[in-house]
Assembly symmetry: C2
């Protein structure tokens, strides 16, 4: 399996900046819904989660048969690869490393389009040239992108989608982090262009333990996914969580407010620290770069202080100087920032 974030060491007091989960934790409403749902665990969940799908359809104002649920967004990456079996896939890197594994397992020929690590900016004309040259069956793009935090505006992506439509290809867009971004989704475009949009409820609602994701596409793609989809892939508590989470306006507002504040706060603070470069982000994490030491060395020094960060050497297009930090509570962010400042002062960076 691929490397991923997450501290699984022995210390109980480590603040885990390596996973990009909303630190507000699970909502009170969800907690109640889970407790009252325990009495229903002796029943099989709906085989395809049709009630939860109805709620998602209503929330996003789309048709029910344009949605499939996943046991986490991850199930849908593998399901899409398996169902479509694309011959050629173009992945925009650096990005989440499960796309490549999923398409490799489905025997796709993988092409990598690697963004310049100087700024991770997507030059759409250059990508379009690549697409025209390679003619991939699927183009994979994460927006906002993990691990870089960069967001591509919809008008930029629409230029690419036009070309994709011309050459009969499909864009697979992972929007798992878009709820944090306050930015436009591609949801309004899947009827116009060949497009599948992946969403995760894991990160924003802080429920990675439940496994909950969905995807949106036209009927033809969704039907193709159902041909390969395994029954009962979502557990009952995840299905039960869907309406509770989508209707929790307060949780949504508090989260977006927290995210906007902490993103600016952490960015500004790291910008002032010598020998660490922080990239602008549009979501709930930042990618940073060490100047002199390696990210592993930094990880080790911080771990001694009870802080765990994600080194990024395993992402295509990055190296052992890059690390990713999630936004956490102000108190936790301050702890990280103070330790980084201390290391800078004592010339350890």
């Amino acid at each position: 399996m691929n490397k991923h974030g997450g501290y699984y060491g022995e210390s109980k007091d480590v603040i885990d900046f390596s996973v990009n989960i909303n630190p507000l934790g699970i909502s009170k409403n969800l907690e109640k819904a889970i407790i009252s749902g325990i009495s229903q665990l002796h029943k099989y969940p709906e085989i395809d989660g049709s009630t939860a799908i109805k709620h998602i359809a209503k929330h996003y104002n789309i048709k029910e048969n344009h949605i499939t649920l996943g046991n986490g967004a991850i199930e849908l990456i593998y399901l899409f690869a398996r169902a479509l079996k694309p011959k050629k896939v173009l992945i925009v890197h650096p990005t989440f490393n499960e796309y490549k594994r999923a398409f490799k397992l489905s025997s796709s020929e993988i092409h990598e389009y690697v963004l310049d690590k100087h700024d991770f900016k997507l030059n759409e004309d250059d990508l379009i040239n690549h697409i025209k040259k390679i003619k991939p069956d699927v183009i994979v793009l994460c927006n906002p992108n993990n691990p870089t935090g960069t967001y591509n505006e919809v008008n930029k992506l629409e230029k690419i989608l036009k070309v994709i439509k011309e050459i009969n290809s499909i864009m697979f867009v992972d929007e798992s982090f878009i709820d944090f971004a306050n930015k436009e989704s591609l949801i309004d475009y899947y009827r116009k262009y060949p497009l599948i949009i992946l969403r995760s409820m894991t990160k924003f609602y802080a429920v990675p333990g439940l496994r909950l994701g969905f995807c949106i596409a036209d009927e033809q793609i969704i039907n193709k996914l159902y041909q390969y989809k395994e029954p009962w892939s979502l557990n009952y508590l995840s299905l039960r969580a869907v309406p509770v989470l989508l209707e929790d306006k307060e949780y949504e507002e508090v989260t977006i407010d927290w995210c906007n504040k902490e993103r600016d706060y952490v960015y500004s603070a790291i910008k002032d620290i010598d020998n660490i470069y922080v990239y602008k982000s549009h979501t709930n994490f930042h990618i940073c770069k060490t100047e002199n030491i390696s990210a592993f060395q930094l990880q080790e020094m911080l771990l001694q202080k009870g802080i765990y960060i994600r080194t990024c050497e395993d992402f295509i297009g990055l190296d052992d100087k890059y690390f990713r930090i999630a936004l956490k509570t102000r108190l936790e962010n301050d702890k990280l920032l103070n330790e980084l400042k201390k290391l800078a002062r004592s010339e350890c960076l």
Copy 2:
């Protein structure tokens, strides 16, 4: 997707005999473990559930690297098909209809070996002749079998395993219902023969809502499965349930005692009802046959009385006369038996 049991109609007062779940419901210990686990849902579950695997290994006295977990046993059926991509598969029918779908999706050539519906008895010599003729890469067998409830003794299966070993094939045995059977498992044989054993914790511990299964095989097969396995496929609460369920000796004893009693009780009672034939079972459900009316007609008549049964026309080798009923509590079983007796008395059967 295939047809499955489970009542999803609008009435709230229906007793559902169509799913084979322990009616004792989820244990108090598990309920406590789930409630105390809610506070951990903001963390990713272990990517491959290694702690839960340790507990299973200890419980069955096998090596950890001989086990993989599944999001329900169903994940492992599809994973096995995908990872091994067998060219030819021989399935012993009538049986659970997901095996066929799983292997079909992996482009296997499927051969059906259909047992005589007169008694569903497996003639091992005849099956061996078939195996020698067809030379399948995988032989699929469910033991005790769903939906027939028949159990094949280990010495019978060992004769088949010897041939399977000779021709370099693998036996895929689904033991999802063996905990109810008080019968010998094939667990002691996987080191000696090419064999993968599937287990479900869903039925015995009444947690289909959680999704929890595992399989046992030698390292080579398990490693092959991991090459294709998707990360985080088990949610945190399922993983947390594993040690709690395995250590609950009282629940196990009460369940086996209940199952033994109700199996005999229901069998004897139906045997005395005219125009319904009941087959001997070794697990927690019975397959039955109507003599005059169809199983659909019976299903409808019983539904009017608040009882739902599983018609079996979709199983290969069965027809619209067959239906399956799960064992439930004495009170519920009596309700079914009384309604059947009433129908017999009023000559509706």
